[in-house]
C-alpha cells in the first residue's frame, strides 16, 4: 500500500471495535438530534456523518464515554442548528394555526389522510421555527434535557455552570410555550 501506511500506528481490532461500538450506539441519537433541526432524512444523515467524521479526525479530549456522548450531542446540535438557520427563510412565513385544527392533527394523522399530514408538517415546521428562535444556550439546554441528559451532563456538554441550568431551562420552557401559544391561538 502507500508509504504512509508504514508510519501509521498499528491499531488493534479492539480499538476499531471500540469506535464501531461508539458509532453504532450513538448514531441513532446523533441522527435524531440532527433530524429535529432539519426534518429531512438525507440531510440529517449527512449531519450525523459529519459529526462522526469530526470525532474521527479531531477527537475530543474525552476520557469517559459520557463525555464522548456529550461531545457528539453538542456537535450534532450545533451542526443541526447551522443547517436549519440556512434554510430558515423557507419557514419564515409563520402561519397561525387554529387551535381546534391542531387538535385534529394527531387524530387525522392516524387516519393517514395526506392533507392533514401536510398540517402535521406545518406543525413540525412551527415547533422547529420556535426552537430556532430561542437563544442558543436555551436551545442546547432544552434539547439536551429533552433527550434525558442530567443537569450535570448538560453542564459538561455546554460549559454552562450547573447552578444556572435550572434557570436557563425554566426560561427556555416559558419562552417556548409563549411563542407557541401566541402563534397557535393568537394570544398568550
Amino acid at each position: 500500500m502507500s508509504l504512509d501506511d508504514g508510519e501509521r500506528p498499528l491499531v488493534t481490532s479492539r480499538e476499531v471495535e471500540a469506535f464501531e461500538v461508539l458509532f453504532t450506539r450513538y448514531y441513532p441519537l446523533v441522527y435524531r438530534l440532527a433530524y429535529r433541526y432539519v426534518g429531512q432524512p438525507d440531510e440529517a444523515e449527512d449531519i450525523a456523518q459529519e459529526v462522526f467524521l469530526r470525532f474521527y479526525h479531531l477527537p475530543p479530549h474525552a476520557s469517559t464515554e459520557a463525555q464522548q456522548r456529550a461531545w457528539l450531542c453538542r456537535v450534532a446540535i450545533n451542526l443541526g442548528l447551522n443547517a436549519a438557520r440556512k434554510r430558515k427563510s423557507r419557514f419564515g412565513q409563520e402561519r397561525r394555526i387554529d387551535a381546534a385544527v391542531q387538535e385534529n392533527v394527531l387524530d387525522v394523522a392516524k387516519d393517514r389522510n395526506p392533507e392533514l399530514f401536510v398540517l402535521a408538517g406545518e406543525q413540525a415546521a412551527l415547533v422547529r421555527a420556535i426552537l430556532l428562535e430561542l437563544p442558543e444556550r436555551q436551545q442546547l439546554c432544552l434539547v439536551l434535557r429533552s433527550i434525558g441528559f442530567s443537569y450535570g451532563e448538560i453542564a459538561e456538554a455546554t460549559g454552562i455552570s450547573i447552578t444556572s441550568i435550572g434557570t436557563v431551562l425554566a426560561r427556555a420552557v416559558q419562552s417556548f410555550r409563549r411563542s407557541y401559544y401566541e402563534r397557535t391561538t393568537g394570544t398568550e
Binding site: 469506535f19 474521527y56 479526525h57 464515554e65 415547533v127 442530567s150 434557570t167
Partner: protein
C-alpha cells in the same frame, strides 16, 4: 408589581421548582423545596403548572423526532462512514475487510462493557459467602415477617422499613420497603439502591427519564420491583385509576452503571391483590454483541446478580386495619380526604381527567398527574381544562386516588 396574592417571601422560583422536578437539587435543598410545596398552595399550584408546561414543551420537541433508527440502518450508516474515509485509513494492512484503522489520537479508551471477572478466586469465594449470608439473612427476615404478618393489633407509628440485600460480582443491591402489616390497596414506599463496587461498567436496560418524568414516574427505570403471586380479592377500580393516572411515556433504552456509581430509585408500590406476594428488585443487564449480520447490537445478558436477587415475601390481608384507613368524601364539586393524623403529612395523590370543549373543538383533552405527588391540604385539587389553550372546557370524567406509605389508597371517580 411583584406583589402577588398568596405569595410570600419564601416562595420558590420557577428554576428551583423545575430543578426539584428534575431531581437535580442536592438532598437538603430538595427536602426544603418539598417541605415548602407541602405547605404552600401557591407554589404547589405553580409546581403542577410547570410540570404540565414542561411536559407540553418536551412533547412538542419529541414530535419532531424521526422514526427510530434500526440496527440495520446504523450498520449501513457505519458502512457509508467507512467508505468516506481516506483510502490510507481503511486499507490498512492490519485491518480486517470492512474495518478501518484509527489515527493514534483517536485511541480513546472505551470501557469494556461485558462484565468480566476481575477478582481472584479468593474474592469470588468471599462474594459467594456474602451472598449466602445475605440469602440467609433474607430467609430469616422472611420467617420473621411471616410470623408477624397475620392481623396485628392497631399500631400507631409505622415500624422500621424492611431491608433485603445481596451482593455478587462486585454489585450490591439493597431494597428497603415499608414494614407490615400488609393489606389490600395499601401503598408501600420502596427504595432501591444498586452500587457498582467493581471496575467494570455495566449496561442496564432502562431509560434515563427526561424532564418531569423523574425516576418516580418513569415507566422503564433501570431498577424496578417485580411483584409475583397474589390472589383474589383484587382492587380492580384502584388498578384502573392508577393505570389512567400514571401513564407510560418513553421507550426502553440503556443506562450505564459505571465503577463506583450508585443508582437510587424511589418507587411507590400499590398492593392491588391479596394473598402471598413476592417482591424482588430486578434489573436487566445488557451487553453489546455482534449479530450474524455483522451488526453490533445491545442485547440482554446474564448479570452477576441474576439468580441472586434478594426477595421479600409478604402476606396481604384483604381488610384494611382501622388505624390505616384513608377515606374520601365527595362534597359537591370537592373531594375531602379523611386520614389518621400520622398519615396527614405524608399524603400523596394521583389523578386523571378528560375534558369536553363543546363545539369549539371536536377533540377532547385528557390529563393526568403522571406520578404520586404531595397533597398539601385535605382537599384534592380540582383539575382544570384547557386553561393553557385559552379555551375553557368542562371536566367530564375525573378519577383520583389518595394514599400514604403504610396506609390504604382510597380512590374515586367524579363523573
Amino acid at each position: 408589581m411583584n406583589e402577588q396574592p398568596g405569595r410570600n417571601n419564601t416562595c420558590l422560583d420557577d428554576d428551583q421548582i423545575l430543578a426539584w422536578l428534575d431531581g437535580a437539587l442536592p438532598p437538603r435543598e430538595a427536602d426544603a423545596v418539598e417541605a415548602h410545596l407541602a405547605s404552600c398552595a401557591r407554589c404547589a399550584a405553580q409546581e403542577r403548572a410547570l410540570m404540565r408546561e414542561s411536559r407540553q414543551v418536551f412533547d412538542l420537541l419529541s414530535s419532531l423526532d424521526p422514526p427510530p433508527v434500526t440496527h440495520a440502518e446504523s450498520a449501513a450508516a457505519l458502512a457509508r462512514f467507512q467508505e468516506h474515509l481516506p483510502p490510507e485509513t481503511h486499507h490498512h494492512e492490519n485491518s480486517q475487510p470492512g474495518t478501518f484503522a484509527l489515527p493514534e489520537s483517536m485511541l480513546i479508551p472505551v470501557r469494556p462493557f461485558t462484565p468480566r471477572p476481575r477478582f481472584g478466586t479468593l474474592v469470588q469465594t468471599l462474594v459467594a459467602v456474602l451472598v449466602i449470608v445475605a440469602l440467609l439473612g433474607t430467609t430469616l427476615l422472611l420467617l420473621r415477617l411471616r410470623l408477624a404478618s397475620p392481623p396485628t393489633p392497631p399500631i400507631g407509628a409505622l415500624a422500621t422499613p424492611v431491608t433485603v440485600h445481596a451482593e455478587a460480582g462486585g454489585l450490591e443491591i439493597r431494597m428497603q420497603i415499608t414494614a407490615g402489616p400488609y393489606f389490600l390497596s395499601e401503598m408501600l414506599a420502596a427504595d432501591l439502591t444498586l452500587t457498582n463496587h467493581s471496575q467494570t461498567t455495566f449496561l442496564l436496560q432502562g431509560t434515563q427519564a427526561p424532564l418531569s418524568e423523574a425516576w418516580r414516574d418513569a415507566c422503564h427505570p433501570p431498577l424496578n420491583i417485580v411483584m409475583t403471586g397474589g390472589e383474589s380479592p383484587y382492587a380492580p377500580n384502584l388498578q384502573s385509576t392508577l393505570t389512567a393516572a400514571i401513564p407510560c411515556f418513553g421507550s426502553v433504552g440503556t443506562v450505564q452503571l459505571q465503577p463506583a456509581q450508585t443508582i437510587m430509585i424511589h418507587r411507590y408500590i400499590e398492593l392491588t391483590s391479596s394473598g402471598h406476594l413476592t417482591l424482588t428488585p430486578r434489573a436487566v443487564f445488557q451487553k453489546p454483541a455482534l449479530g450474524q449480520d455483522g451488526v453490533i447490537q445491545i442485547v440482554p445478558t446474564a448479570g452477576p446478580l441474576d439468580g441472586r436477587w434478594p426477595s421479600l415475601q409478604i402476606s396481604v390481608q384483604p381488610r384494611v386495619p382501622s388505624d390505616r384507613l384513608i377515606s374520601l368524601h365527595q362534597q359537591r364539586a370537592q373531594v375531602l380526604v379523611d386520614a389518621p393524623p400520622p398519615a396527614r403529612s405524608q399524603l400523596l395523590y394521583v389523578y386523571a381527567f378528560d375534558c369536553d370543549f363543546g363545539q369549539r373543538a371536536s377533540g377532547h383533552e385528557s390529563g393526568s398527574g403522571g406520578y404520586w405527588r404531595s397533597l398539601p391540604t385535605m382537599t384534592i385539587p380540582t383539575p382544570q381544562c384547557g386553561t393553557s389553550m385559552n379555551i375553557t372546557g368542562k371536566v367530564v370524567h375525573w378519577r383520583y386516588a389518595v394514599g400514604a406509605p403504610g396506609y390504604n389508597i382510597a380512590s374515586g371517580t367524579y363523573a
